[in-house]
């Protein structure tokens, strides 16, 4: 990724002077005062290539709010004139801000000029630089960039830093302080860009990938042309009024602001700051309600959240649904409304991983949801298999929803078969575009075991799923998971945004049984601050669009729609249902019921109530019980019932999608809410005959056509009696996901341990369809003579896959691809031998499997956390990027691997050769079990391990390359490079030291 920015006019590539043009290159877009001064005075330098003009973006305070619009017009006019006068760098500057002059919001000034110049066809004739006191947080810089700023000088941020440096007596120089700030902001911008899938600042600049929430169309069209805005809202007048207000606070004689500004309260509740739904009173009322089973406390809690916009208690407006009201219907008696015990079955708790929260908290939620027939969610961290067994008292700690996220931590076939729903997390409402991150100090031995990782090594879920680059890929993953567990519903979790409806339609067509629309309100306390305030979108917007799109395309009936992200009360549920949700997810509220007090320190492992921590001392402080959670959900359900009775609905099904029963709240007493218009959210697609508006149908998965149906029938004696079976079949590319349904059957009976190695041996001939051997269970061997497709051995769970060259093909295995892209993605156990080259992204996120391949494409072993990979040929670029565990051996006779490896996290080493053979930690000939790949201590025994694997590869595939290497082994050995992740080595050394200490203590 790159922050390089180009300032100045863009050349006409087809013009006469193409190639002679100057542009100013900066290595990153944040300019210090000195750098800006250079640009300002650049005229006359460099042969007069650049001529800068500064445009003042302030207006006279005496004009008041009315002055803003005029100021924006003037700025745009001056920009035009400057460009026409040959000025090719414009500096928009609010330096003149003072008690007498008010600054136009920098974003407004920038975007207005940007679009004004585009409209006039002049934008490419000039560069745009912003000199502003406003920009200080990552988001500020990102929106400025998104609306055209090629460089930004945050002068007030620098002034503030300098003042802090002096008053706080920091031991840093002024230069260092500035440098640190610029570095931090730069990293933040990179992070945001990566979330949006953009890798260069130049592409990000002007890309305006933002949705506006609460701005009027007229205003957007004028100043932010092309940005989506769904609910209308404030325009120039309101922005002006707010700008004046801010100016007055800064320069007025307000006593409070005499010496300092308010703490603000954006990130943590402060009374005079930003309103938060979760405040001391709401948290306390909810906790007292669930602990004392006190209806009155719940009612207080709910009314504090539901009664928005009213005069009392404080008239705070917090959510879009707070601007809605119900259209009255004919009430029905409360007794006729479906019972709360039915309603709660539609409730689910949020995806919080075991790892991010403690076992106590995680199982409390699971037990509670299992008792009431709702669903709890594993999150992305796997699940301890002891939880699949019921407790003596009949309770179950098994999470009904198993999440499959990009990290694929703990996603084994056993995990998948123990699911009622399998949820593919495409993104998370609270931090869209970001993968989960578990810092090393939260990865204790147990967490590491469940996630098949190394204790003490941090875990990063990559932002994308490496097996999903298109909707077809997603359909494939849905199919794979459905094969793994045909009884489970496959769900796709999406983030609310403008355009999510189209994605949801794709998801429905891709045969998902369930889709979740996740809003931005929910959120983990561990969300990065840049994601906390301006990432994601309210669920009302995404849910309404989803419902409208699905109904319009006749796709609604076959998919269940769930909404989550900040649901707290019965009213929230009813509004969700009316907008089109069948089911409802809650995360923060049940956690608060179980004792969370919103410390927002989840990433520090210091949670004082024992929830977001793995520290045994702190975990002992956890006081939540399943009853607390159950009480909460029943309170919510009873509130839902009361509202349903009032509205005249007897069941949630009747209510789902009845957006005609919602209206915008009249008489909203807030000066900024006047322009809000919810009609786009409250639009109802006209009913059509035979088109369902709620989940009343089923998806067709076509599993009966799968090859696995035959395989399962043939393998019955093995599954049921443990007899060895041999199956031989021809295979074609329509046979997708072969071996997976069979693995599900095995795991259903035998768990993760599966069957003894080689119990089911399947010989295949031909070309396999995608996902051959996905989640293949231990005890199954797939021996394919032919070609594999993409995703071979995805999520490999202990099985063995061999792919050999087709009979009589005569092609050179080292030069030809034999398996496709994203092979062994998320593999956990088992082994694979490919007599040929694999495509790109080989063994990404491998956490335990052993593989030998004769060459790979780009990005091999990315994000790998365990296992062993041997490459007997060339690799592509970016090998081992983000690799934090396991080892790889690459045959590199030409000495080119150093340039291909990404060594940010790994070292490239020589192999160790003189280890004792009879050491108990040495590798063994065959893997002893599904949890032990028999590879021994990864810090030692390189030569033994490699030889063993190459021999095995030769034996299983008949590889000529392997034989050749073995024939001249000593020389070959010297041409292998070992890839060793640094963190992994450290953690391994620590573990060894710990073992030794224990051994000494035992003596």
């Amino acid at each position: 990724m790159s922050l390089v920015s180009m300032i100045g006019p863009r050349p006409n590539l087809l013009g006469h002077h193409a190639g002679t043009h100057y542009r100013l290159e900066v290595s990153q877009p944040i300019l210090t005062n000195a750098e800006l001064a250079k640009i300002r005075h650049i005229s006359g330098q460099i042969g007069g290539a650049f001529r800068a003009a500064t445009i003042d973006t302030t207006w006279v305070a005496s004009e008041g709010a009315g002055g803003l619009e005029k100021a924006v017009e003037r700025i745009c006019r001056e920009a035009t004139e400057a460009v026409l006068a040959g000025r090719n760098i414009l500096i928009l500057s609010d330096r003149a801000v003072s008690a007498e002059r008010i600054a136009v919001p920098a974003l407004l000034a920038t975007a207005s000029v940007h679009h004004h110049l585009i409209r006039q066809g002049l934008r490419t004739g000039t560069g745009l630089v912003v000199e502003t006191g406003e920009a200080r947080e990552v988001h500020h810089f990102c929106v400025l960039a998104g609306y055209g700023a090629e460089a930004i000088n945050p002068w007030l941020a620098f002034d503030t830093l300098e003042s802090l440096r002096v008053t706080e007596g920091m031991p840093l120089s002024a230069y260092e302080v500035r440098k640190n700030f610029i570095k931090a902001i730069g990293k933040g911008i990179l992070k945001v860009m990566s979330k949006m899938g953009i890798s260069t600042y130049q592409s990000y600049c002007g890309a305006q990938i933002f949705d506006a929430v609460g701005l009027s169309t007229a205003f957007i069209e004028k100043c932010f042309t092309g940005t989506a805005t769904t609910i209308e809202g404030a325009g120039m007048a309101e922005i002006a009024a707010e700008t004046v207000l801010r100016h007055r606070q800064a320069y007025g004689d307000d006593l409070v602001y005499r010496d300092q500004l308010d703490p603000g309260g954006d990130y943590g509740f402060r009374l005079r700051g930003e309103d938060h739904v979760w405040a001391p009173d709401t948290v306390a009322d909810l906790q007292h309600a669930v602990r004392g089973n006190a209806q009155d406390a719940y009612k207080r809690f709910a009314s504090r959240i539901n009664d928005q916009g009213s005069k009392d208690p404080s008239g705070r407006l917090l959510t879009i649904r707070g601007l809605m009201e119900f259209r009255a219907g004919t009430p029905v008696p409360l007794e006729e409304v479906e019972p709360a015990s039915e309603i709660v079955k539609r409730f689910a708790t949020g995806a919080m991983s075991f790892g991010s929260i403690s076992r106590e908290a995680h199982t409390t939620l699971a037990i509670a949801m299992n008792r009431i027939g709702g669903k709890s969610n594993t999150g992305e961290g796997g699940e301890e298999s002891d939880r699949y067994v019921r407790l003596p008292n009949g309770d179950s700690e098994r999470s009904a929803i198993k999440q499959v996220a990009s990290g694929r931590f703990g996603v084994t076939i056993e995990y998948l078969v123990n699911a009622d729903d399998i949820q593919i997390k495409m993104a998370q409402g609270a931090k869209p575009g970001e993968g989960g991150q578990l810092p090393g100090h939260k990865v204790d031995k147990n967490i590491a075991r469940v996630r098949y990782a190394t204790p003490g090594v941090g875990l990063i879920s990559p932002p994308p799923h490496h097996d999903i680059y298109s909707i077809e890929d997603l359909a494939q993953l849905i199919h794979d998971l459905k094969n793994a567990n045909p009884r489970a519903r496959i769900s796709v979790k999406l983030v609310s945004e403008v355009g999510v409806g189209t994605v949801a339609a794709g998801v429905s067509k891709a045969r998902a049984d369930h889709v979740t629309i996740s809003g931005y309100e929910g959120g983990t306390g561990a969300s990065p601050l840049t994601s906390l305030t301006h990432a994601g979108s309210p669920w009302e917007i995404g849910l309404a669009e989803t419902q409208q799109t699905l109904v319009l395309n006749g796709l609604r009936g076959r998919i269940a729609v769930q909404v989550d992200g900040g649901l707290r009360t019965g009213r929230d549920v009813v509004i969700g249902a009316l907008l089109g949700a069948d089911e409802f997810g809650f995360a923060t509220a049940p956690l608060i019921a179980a004792g969370c007090i919103m410390m927002r320190k989840c990433h520090l492992n210091t949670c004082p109530v024992g929830i977001a921590t793995q520290d045994p001392v702190l975990r002992a402080r956890f006081t939540g019980t399943p009853e607390h959670v159950i009480n909460y959900f029943f309170f919510v359900a009873e509130e839902v019932r009361e509202l349903m009775a009032k509205l005249g609905f007897r069941s949630i099904g009747e209510m789902t999608g009845r957006v005609d029963r919602l209206d915008m709240r009249r008489a909203i007493d807030h000066w900024k809410a006047a322009g809000v218009d919810l009609s786009r959210i409250l639009h109802q697609i006209p009913a059509r005959e035979g088109v369902a508006i709620w989940n009343s149908e089923r998806q067709v998965h076509n599993l009966e056509r799968a090859l696995d149906m035959e395989l399962i029938a043939a393998a019955r004696p093995a599954i049921e009696k443990g007899e060895r079976v041999r199956i031989t079949r021809d295979i074609r590319n329509v046979h997708r996901t072969v071996g997976t349904m069979l693995s599900g059957e095995v795991a259903q009976r035998h768990g993760h341990a599966g069957l003894p190695a080689g119990t089911i041996e399947i010989a295949l001939r031909g070309t396999a369809g995608q996902s051959l051997g996905a989640f293949l269970a231990h005890g199954i061997t797939l021996d394919l003579q032919g070609d594999g497709n993409d995703y071979v051995g995805k999520g490999l769970s202990g099985g063995r896959i061999v792919v050999r060259q087709p009979f009589g093909s005569g092609r050179d295995p080292s030069q030809n691809i034999i398996v496709g892209n994203t092979v062994l993605y998320g593999a956990i156990a088992g082994d694979a031998y490919f007599q040929g080259v694999a495509g790109e992204r080989f063994a990404v996120r491998n956490s335990g499997a052993v593989a030998v391949v004769e060459g790979t494409g780009d990005h091999g072993c990315e994000y790998m956390t365990g296992g062993v990979v041997v490459v007997l040929g060339e690799t592509g670029r970016n090998f081992a990027a983000g690799m934090s565990g396991g080892v790889a051996y690459v045959y590199d006779p030409a000495g080119q691997f150093t340039d291909l490896a990404n060594t940010a996290m790994v070292d490239l080493e020589k192999l160790s050769t003189d280890d004792p053979a009879d050491d108990p930690e040495a590798p063994v000939a065959e893997p002893p079990s599904v949890t032990d790949n028999g590879m021994g201590d990864p810090l030692r025994f390189d030569a033994q391990r490699l030889r063993l694997l190459v021999e095995r590869h030769a034996r299983l595939t008949g590889s000529a390359r392997a034989r050749a290497l073995l024939a001249d082994w000593d020389r070959a050995l010297g041409q292998f490079v070992k890839v060793m992740p640094r963190d992994y080595r450290r953690a391994m050394q620590e573990l060894r030291a710990e073992r030794n200490a224990l051994a000494v203590a035992a003596q």
């Binding site: 706080e168 004689d253 409070v256 300092q260 001391p280 009173d281 948290v283 306390a284 006081t623």
Partner: protein
């Protein structure tokens, strides 16, 4: 929060007291400050919670995590400014506030709250000591005149806020010194009175005019104030004490706590006996004292009695003994009902709960004993608790001096309140809401105990500040004063 694990590493340590035998020989404050370093260490325990419950638990909404953070980094002066931005008189609350903030502290879930009150007190004490606290006279005068009737914490905070907003404020006080209950209700050993004098001097420099010995309603009519001033704030407190209505109440030696405490504070202030005790000396010297009422005023009576040389002090409370520890799950972060042992109890007082006084008996018109009975509290139909005497549980307590500290029923009505024509709420307080603090009479506002009934100093400060904002808005059409 520079140290996320501070709460796990540093033990809670609060200010200590000087030893009881030593402290009862005088009327000086006996709380021993921790010192800068230890205070900063305690501030390090603050976790900077995402939802700082303390901030809401505090009636003036002190920005507790923010100044804890500053103190921990040694930034005392900015901490002082931040503290003063929400609380006019932290040196009062830092001494006598029961600290609902600490009850609300997240670390109080397992009984180890941050010593917030100690940090607060240290900040402001340091501010005075370093000379950082200076008058803040307004830059502009509004030409508006405001009268504040009553100079307790509500009146003082309202006056200071209004003066800083540029109004000409006159504070009327019927007693001879400024401060209301702060001056004469709270013993010197809990809060030294030069703290009030210092604030009064600051406020005078900010333009506040103080007029003592003016009993509005008697010496001047409220109507005349209404004429002369653009607004009048009634902040006269809830001075009507709850009486003990039993046979023998008329006996000599049975007194309201306030009469007793006031005399002593005047003596400590250097007043001669005729000035301090114009209606005759009340003293506990050589007496068996019974204090009726288990609250803070009761404690003050105990401490004062011991310092005067009482032979014994017994405190009676009609309510049952509260639990040693509250049910955290159902109370936190709210103020818990639990047994509170004050410094006065440590000085040697006996305590008895669920005791009802039936009769005072005496000889020659002087009280000698109280006849009491034990009571039981039972929940009746409708959930209301009611009291039943326990048969055969009568007891007799020797008593030479009986001090009534059973709380206050509301403002004194005759005089000021009566004249004002302001309507009263069902509890007998002057009626006004806590948004605009206006009574039903034009120009007349009310704040503090007079409006909300007996309460804490910190609530009075909140009311005074918020009332000042309402007055400012009423006079100027807009206001910059914070709520």
């Amino acid at each position: 929060m520079a140290k996320p694990t501070g709460f796990l590493e540093i033990e809670r340590r609060d200010r200590g007291y000087r030893k009881a035998p030593e402290r009862v020989t005088n009327y000086e404050e006996f709380v021993v400050p921790l010192g800068d370093e230890a205070t900063a260490a305690q501030a390090t325990r603050c976790m900077d919670c995402g939802i700082p419950f303390c901030h809401n638990g505090c009636p003036v909404n002190n920005l507790i995590p923010d100044w804890n953070n500053l103190v921990q980094r040694g930034q005392w002066q900015p901490a002082l400014r931040m503290l003063h931005s929400t609380n006019n008189f932290p040196e009062f609350t830092g001494r006598i506030c029961p600290a609902p903030c600490e009850a609300a502290c997240t670390l109080n879930i397992d009984n180890n709250p941050v010593t917030i009150k100690t940090v607060e007190c240290a900040i402001v004490d340091k501010g005075w000591q370093e000379g950082w606290i200076l008058p803040q006279p307004p830059t502009k005068r509004t030409g508006k005149h405001v009268a504040v009737v009553g100079s307790g914490p509500a009146g003082l905070s309202a006056a200071q806020q209004l003066a800083r907003a540029g109004h000409a404020v006159t504070v009327f006080e019927k007693a001879d010194r400024i401060g209301g209950l702060l001056r004469y209700g709270i013993p010197d050993f809990k809060m030294a009175k030069d703290l009030i004098d210092r604030r009064v001097a600051q406020m005078e420099a900010e333009g506040v005019e103080f007029r003592t010995r003016v009993d509005v309603g008697r010496d001047v009519t409220l109507a005349s104030l209404s004429e002369r001033f653009d607004a009048v704030i009634l902040s006269g407190g809830a001075e009507q004490p709850r009486d003990l209505e039993v046979p023998g109440r008329e006996l000599d030696g049975i007194h309201f706590a306030m009469d007793f405490l006031t005399q002593q504070n005047k003596r400590v202030a250097g007043d001669s006996e005729p000035v301090a005790a114009p209606t005759g000396t009340l003293t506990a010297r050589g007496k068996h004292v019974v204090v009726i009422g288990g609250g803070d005023t009761g404690s003050d009576c105990i401490g004062t009695s011991f310092r005067q040389g009482a032979l014994s002090v017994t405190q009676l409370e009609i309510m049952p003994r509260p639990p040693e520890m509250e049910n955290k799950a159902l109370t936190w972060p709210n103020w818990p009902l639990k047994l509170r042992t004050s410094h006065a109890h440590e000085e040697g007082a006996g305590r008895d709960f669920a005791v009802l006084t039936k009769k005072a008996v005496g000889v020659h018109g002087r009280v000698e004993a109280l006849e009491c009975v034990r009571v039981e509290w039972v929940r009746g139909p409708g959930g209301r608790m009611s009291m039943q005497e326990v048969p055969g549980s009568a007891l007799r307590l020797q008593a030479d001096l009986v001090l009534l500290a059973m709380g206050f029923t509301g403002p004194r009505v005759p005089g000021l309140v009566e004249q004002s024509g302001a309507s009263l709420d069902p509890r007998g307080n002057v009626e006004a809401n806590d948004r605009d603090y206006r009574t039903n009479v034009p120009k007349i506002f009310t704040a503090g105990d007079m409006r909300r009934g007996q309460s804490l100093v910190v609530w009075a400060i909140r009311e005074g500040r918020q009332c000042a904002r309402s007055v400012d808005e009423a006079l100027m059409g807009r206001t910059l004063l914070p709520r």
